[in-house]
């Protein structure tokens, strides 16, 4: 056991404490960066809202992927395809009916937003079923190939002109093709608060915000509240997946990850379990996709490139596959440091040193380094292209992680797959004098011969 493990173990409050600590430091850093950038209050609030948004979506996606990979060992590299299907089906169901001459090229079925969300999740789950059915019976790598192919097929399908507009139930609907789809349904927050009769209260809140953000406070408040809403969804995902993992169902999933044949030989219908786990994860990915794109106003197929899938994988690997707490942490760290971090860093550098002229090409950047050992132009060039270098940075982080902490930040702390703690029941006197069983004994400790003769049936007959 390395020293590093103790760092995460020493945070007060355990894993929750660790998450709070990480979130707090991320927010603090962003606020400091905001001060450096000379943001006013509005800018600071917006920056906080954006950060919260990305922490939310990546934590949700990472949790869903953890169900697939961390728990069941299903190698899904088509995450973005399930997100896309979720979003597009939601749009199809919830966009208002087509009106000739309106801004939108196509309409939807005009059903309430929550119906659309459920339909989107269902569609993602069904797509998962269709993809998984043939591939799950084969070995793990086939699922990988099938899922990534599927996600690209989905993207190209939404790009294609054939699905741009068509007629469904006598109304003109469609996916908009390459030019994108306007999401012209009631904005999600409005729909949510109206559903609970709280829209007036919300508008009151917006008005109250005028005290600190005098002009047009609505977008600021919207962003903050939506961020909070996403964090609420993260909690819900976490709750659901924790219960899923800590149950006999989750136990079978874990066994499948470890050795599917053994689970099968013990009488578990592993294909059935794999399909259920896969469909649940896909539905959650669909939901995460919906929550990500719903407030954006429009959606284009090219948003759903495979790189989004890899972002989620990096988040999971940072946090530690197999741990739900780790997934949340990984999502947060990824969003704050790797996803949003570089652009903040770049902005910060160009604000603090406004007069720096960075070279316009790689040649100009590298030649002073070679001719006169002057690294400054090269450094400036690097900082200038940091957004393009984002993927390189992510790759470096991954390599570092693989070498130094392959199990991720929290992956070493496995969550026990059972509803109850598995220590010796109080009603049972320990054979060897009732040593404290809640304390983990690390094996090899011979505590004397614990042969039990009262145990004539070895418990096999169960009473």
């Amino acid at each position: 056991m390395s020293v590093k493990e103790d760092i995460t173990a020493r945070v007060p409050g355990g894993d929750t404490g660790l998450i709070v600590l990480v979130l707090a430091s991320a927010y603090l850093l962003y606020l400091l960066a905001g001060i450096g950038l000379g943001y006013d209050l509005r800018g600071q609030l917006n920056s906080i809202a954006t950060l919260t948004f990305y922490i939310g979506v990546f934590a949700m996606l990472s949790l869903a992927l953890n169900l697939h990979w961390g728990y069941t060992g299903l190698f899904n590299i088509g995450i973005v395809g399930f997100m896309a299907v979720g979003v597009y089906v939601m749009a199809l169901v919830s966009k208002p009916l087509y009106v000739a001459g309106g801004a939108a090229q196509v309409g939807g079925l005009g059903l309430p937003l929550w119906v659309g969300i459920l339909a989107g999740m269902l569609a993602a789950a069904i797509l998962g079923f269709v993809v998984a059915l043939p591939a799950l019976r084969l070995r793990a790598d086939y699922l990988a190939i099938v899922t990534i192919a599927m996600s690209e097929i989905v993207r190209f399908s939404f790009l294609s002109g054939d699905l741009q507009a068509f007629s469904l139930m006598g109304t003109r609907v469609g996916f908009g093709g390459g030019s994108g789809l306007i999401l012209d349904f009631t904005p999600p927050l409005e729909a949510l608060f109206q559903a609970f009769g709280l829209w007036g209260v919300y508008n009151g809140l917006v008005d109250a915000f005028r005290a600190i953000v005098p002009t047009n406070p609505k977008p600021v408040v919207d962003g903050l509240i939506y961020g909070l809403l996403l964090l609420g969804f993260v909690v819900a995902f976490y709750w659901l997946l924790k219960r899923t993992g800590e149950s006999p169902f989750g136990r079978v999933l874990k066994a499948i990850r470890e050795d599917e044949d053994v689970a099968n030989a013990l009488g578990k219908n592993t294909d059935g379990f794999k399909i259920k786990s896969f469909m649940l994860g896909c539905a959650l990915m669909g939901l995460a996709g919906i929550l990500w794109l719903m407030p954006q106003g429009a959606v284009t197929p090219n948003f759903f490139r495979p790189r989004v899938t890899f972002f989620v994988w990096i988040a999971l690997i940072i946090g530690g596959a197999g741990s739900n707490t780790g997934s949340v942490l990984g999502g947060a760290v990824f969003a704050a440091v790797l996803y949003q971090g570089p652009r903040y860093f770049q902005n910060l550098v160009s604000t603090v040193f406004p007069n720096l002229d960075s070279p316009s090409g790689f040649g100009q950047a590298i030649s002073p380094l070679i001719s006169s050992f002057d690294p400054v132009p090269f450094l400036l060039y690097t900082i200038d292209s940091i957004r393009q270098l984002q993927l390189v940075v992510m790759g470096l982080v991954l390599i570092w992680l693989m070498h130094n902490r392959p199990e991720g930040l929290l992956g070493h702390r496995k969550e026990t797959a059972s509803v109850i703690p598995l220590s010796r029941p109080k009603s049972m006197v320990a054979a060897d004098g009732g040593a404290d069983e809640s304390v983990r004994t690390d094996g090899g400790v011979d505590e004397g011969d614990s042969t039990v003769d009262r145990e004539s049936n070895g418990g096999v007959d169960d009473e």
Binding site: R251, A265, L266, K414, V419, L422, D446, T451, G459, V460
Partner: protein, 287 residues
Amino acid sequence: MSDASNPSVDDVANKVDDDALGAFASGVDTTEQFPLQVEGLRKSFGGITAVDGASFEVEAGTLTGLIGPNGAGKSTTFNLITGMLKPDAGTVTFNGEDITGLEPHEIANRGMVRTFQIARELSDMTVLENMMLAPKHQRGEALWRSVTPVLRDDVREQEEELLERVWEVLDFFDIDHIAHEYAGNLSGGQRKLLEMARALLTDPDMLLLDEPFAGVNPTLEKKLLEHVHELREQGYTFLLVEHDMDLIMNNCEHVIVLHQGQVLTEGTPDDIRSNEEVIEAYLGGTV
């Protein structure tokens, strides 16, 4: 019977009675008497025919030994019987039902469970998780029941019952002190014990044990054998692969000798001991 997750003592007793009565009523009640019947089983891997038309029956309530030199096809026979491999030809009948080609879990749920020659522990799960996995038909294996608030209480209740049973078995197998250890950290012998304990927790009618005692210390081996005999007396049936001839001769009622994928001979330990072909097979003679 095969569906009941908890065979009552009565059921088990009936099974023994029936067997005693039916012992000589040949042809009438053979499935009662011989829960496992293997007929003309064949399996080739490329050029190698690992099992070549093996036929045998295992009598209810016995400890039957399956012996043979390395590569005789014993493990492959186990794989064919339990559905891990699909036979090229032949049938497997269990409790009167043709189970040839069924999935392993379907066969396990009919009451026939096997252990693996090379222990296959679930490394990244603790010993306790390994054990808790085994019992069949757990309520919480239904996802909706495990996540829905009120229904989860039922699951919790069953988990508590299972946990007591698991700890009893852990105590019996002498692996209670490593209960919280990851299975991947166990020694070879401990893995074997875990494997057998896990198989027993599924409440099988019949257990197929592939060299279960390899690497287990002699004291514990003796204890496990006693336990096997107890279970056998209650009507459980065992098919045991083992290279230790003394162990086979002293414990099995019936011995089947497999050689080059075929049943060379079978009979009581005394029959086998006096059979020269067997000695030849074991001493490297070419048959």
